[in-house]
Symmetry: C2
Subunit: 547 residues, 2 copies
């Protein structure tokens, strides 16, 4: 018996002996081995919840189809004797009607696995049960003789996320991703307890989503009639994500990154596809920004917010605001006319008016705003209280954001831009890109969203973070290996917290790699083709591959 | 009519208007559009060659299943009118019995596509026909109305490879690749006219290939009973590769990189898995080298060469020889005893004796030796004349190798190591690896194996090159996106030559990217999930994404 203490007493600190990912925040375990049931049932009070019934069925199927051997147990982990048998897992949730996934959703759960007898999973909500079932599924391993067992019983887990916002940014504009590819990624997210799909759905290169208000946006803006998302596709994705504990937050980036709108509305655009000197007008080709002097441009922006606020149920609505190019407007005739007619006005004033119109519309639509850090730091626009500000440029921006009183989402490119490291992609470039090198899993894992933030009130405003897969050089054919298991590294820091309670220091890759190998191989078995971290020899021989 | 000249006259320089990859070395084309047949037949003189019949059937199937629109033709490439109809393709080979793929195989072919009537493909060998059929398949595109056409008819192509050795190094020891994964890669190689699979089959981490002479090597050395290649698997792969114009050259790396042999023969090893200070004894964990003072070690090495020389029919046999660690032997008792007993001897002398024994055995086995550059440059061993020396460390090594009178294979890590750029992989490292950054396709494309080699006699000794996918951080789940289309970039330089005949300068990525987009998307349709180079917008709008 290693560290087992009554559930009423103090739960021991998280162990690495079990192949759990992310590691539960409180866990006790012991030294017995129990035969594991695949049978899952719901307690009597939870039987009126059809969603829970479906969930239990889904995890029952997943578990029955899985007989997993973590690689570190392959050589020396065969079970010598079985100490007991768990009869079944009973799942209970206290609030059977609470079926909303959003920023404040309760994802906590308690899991109690005896050596023999009934195992129990208790949670306040469907989403707590979902997280607990994922943990339960990860406890089941092959004993080396083809039997499904739970090692280290009895086990007690009391778990909940450290940060409420744990996401992946998915860019479906630079290159298209099919509905199936997005669902596949949602599956993978749920295996890692990630809960936000930030859907950067449109950008300068394409507009793949149907608009009922302005159908020409997708008619002219999708790469092909096949490369688009209908309303029904979007609803399907949202429902699929909801079932798996993933919020879908759309981003409609404005007023920059909007060339594609110009295919339908050229009269409301500035610096539309300037060639070959696009770089004076945009961060990447094609150039094009909404003409912020033109009331029709703001009107279209408002239409977009209104239309898609209704389509996407999440509380948050992302309006981009990154990488606006002032030169694009400064060189435009309409801006020059405007400034001539409005003494004392500047481009920044006009832009702030535009931002104001956008953020007012978000609030009028009943949403919380979400935007990139340039909005507040480069343009000095005062976003409404409660707005979530996403940082990517400066790793100190999270601290500055919460000091300024806003909620912060951390996506520092130096740690979290998973697209980086594939070299420059412009047609005539032989060399690196601005954000090389590649962010290895250990680099991702080494980021602490709370770095240099000591005031607990400020810490609370750090809602979490998102790794980003910008799609200049990726699409659904490569996404698995670009996302996984690096997004798993991110997921653990955000779920389990950046500090290892065993050491009271920031979590270190060396303490995680054995479990991350297991998570990668487990996900392979579930169809998620993540990249290997090391030679399998290292995974089979833990501790032998340190520098 | 752009540049059409009679086949008897001078063929025009290669064009980029057609989506061919690699670009044929001599091609004329014009401005007509012809309906394309999927029917392929063999001429009367070639009908006695069952392999050719099979090949023609295979390409007939491939073509019938494909209706490809290169992305640059999507927006503005719809055909307005059809000028003629090609009735069928007739394939003739002059030597129906010449069915050996090796260094000196004739891969040349001529392809003649009229506006209307019979198209003809003539070659000296099966392999010329194979290369020509691949080119033919790439000529067929969607006219924008769902019809299969050939653009730019009449077309005449006279093609042959610039370098005879065009390869991919595949490492199945750090991580295992299934037989299907290897065959899949062979398919992809044939779509790019690559012709050498350098099978780095074993290394310190695992020994996945069956040995009939010493069965314990795989019994103890494979990662699992599933992770191994039987003799029948190897023969199956060799036959599959042969049918697709790919030589399979095995590498059995000795005397370094051999820890795994120690699982079966610990008594013939030095510095076996020293921990934690493996780095004093090896380039990566686990450490372990054959004990070169022990006659039993040389004897085993000879057994390995003899056994696998018989299994692999290729003329060349690779014996590694890279990254030997002198300290491993200097610190060993057996070496110290040996040096004490042999006055004047040094570790280098002993190593050279070992190399001599190995290379003598290669020759006695009827093979041509193939080894890494350290053998001649670091150890100053004089390999037998005709040996192919593979360089990887110094990009000037190719020049030095041919100056020294040897044949050279270029694999400079700075250009050709496709595994690089994924960060350090040791368990406790947060940061880059020795060979970062990632080698982008344009970086691969920018390498000229003949750089600084002016003497034509020396140039002839540059047999070609190999990109390498070392497998510390890769396996079959990620191979497609790591290999493609970067290996395509390599393939064009080696098939079409490093110099663009239109400009008489080294080929430039800007002149290739439109075709490479097409090749990537074509390969996607054939099941090869390579990485996208750019946003699809750039592929659909050529010339708009330059720096």
């Amino acid at each position: 018996m290693k560290t087992y203490i009554s559930v009423l007493g103090l739960l021991s600190l998280a162990s690495t002996a079990l192949a759990l990912w992310p590691i539960p925040r409180n866990m006790s375990e012991s030294d017995k081995v129990s035969l594991a049931p695949t049978h899952i049932t719901t307690g009597s009070s939870s039987q009126g919840c059809p969603s829970l019934q479906k969930l239990v069925l889904r995890y029952g199927d997943l578990i029955s189809g899985e007989l997993f051997t973590p690689p570190d147990l392959y050589l020396n982990g065969t079970v010598q004797s079985i100490d007991g048998s768990v009869s079944y897992l009973e799942v209970n949730i206290r609030n059977v009607s609470d079926f909303i996934i959003d920023l404040d959703t309760d994802e906590s759960y308690e899991l109690d696995i005896p050596v023999s007898g009934k195992a129990q999973l208790n949670a306040n909500t469907y989403y707590g049960a979902l997280r607990g079932l994922e943990t339960y599924s990860q406890l089941l391993t092959n004993d080396g003789h083809g039997r499904r067992v739970i090692r280290n019983t009895p086990i007690k887990i009391s778990d909940s996320p450290y940060f409420p916002h744990r996401g992946i940014l998915f860019d479906t504009a630079r290159n298209y991703y099919s509905v199936d590819a997005i669902k596949h990624t949602i599956d993978a997210m749920s295996y890692n307890k990630l809960n936000v799909l930030h859907w950067h759905i449109v950008d300068s290169q394409s507009w793949p989503v149907e608009s009922k208000l302005h159908p020409q946006l997708a008619d002219n803006g999708a790469y092909s009639p096949q490369d688009r998302y209908s309303y029904s596709d979007v609803k399907d994705i949202i429902q699929y994500a909801k079932d798996r504990g993933v919020r879908v937050i759309p981003e409609f980036d404005m007023p920059g990154h909007t060339y594609i709108i110009g295919k339908s509305f050229p009269d409301i655009m500035s610096c539309l596809n300037v060639q070959p000197k696009w770089s004076e007008f945009a961060a990447e080709p094609p150039s094009g920004q909404l003409d912020i002097t033109n009331p029709k441009a703001l009107s279209l922006a408002k239409d977009i917010i209104k239309e898609y606020s209704a389509l996407f149920p999440d509380s948050h609505f992302h309006v981009g605001g990154d990488e606006v190019n002032m030169n694009c407007w400064e060189k435009s005739n309409t801006m020059q006319d405007y400034l001539a007619a409005h003494s004392g006005a500047t481009v920044n004033h006009v832009l702030k008016q535009f931002y104001q119109g956008i953020h007012d519309t978000i609030i009028a639509s009943g949403k919380v705003g979400f935007c990139w850090e340039e909005t507040i730091f480069h343009q000095n626009f005062t976003v409404p209280k409660g707005t979530a500000v996403q940082s990517w440029i400066d790793s100190d921006s999270v601290r500055k954001t919460v000091m300024a009183g806003y909620n912060a989402i951390a996506s520092p490119y130096e740690y979290y831009y998973l697209d980086c490291g594939h070299g420059g992609w412009l047609s005539d470039v032989v060399g690196n890109s601005w954000c090389d090198p590649y962010k290895s899993w250990s680099k991702v894992y080494s980021y602490n969203p709370l770095a240099n933030i000591t005031n607990p009130e400020h810490q609370k405003r750090v809602l979490g973070g998102e790794v980003a897969l910008w799609a200049e050089q990726s699409d659904e054919h490569v996404m698995d290996s670009y996302l996984w298991p690096r997004s798993s590294a991110h997921a653990e820091i955000l779920w389990s917290g950046p500090i290892d309670p065993k050491t009271n220091k920031q979590r270190a890759p060396i303490d995680a790699i054995t479990r991350l190998h297991a998570q990668r191989y487990r996900m392979l078995g579930r169809g998620i083709r993540g990249a290997p971290l090391q030679p399998l020899w290292c995974a089979q021989n833990p501790g032998n591959c340190s520098a």
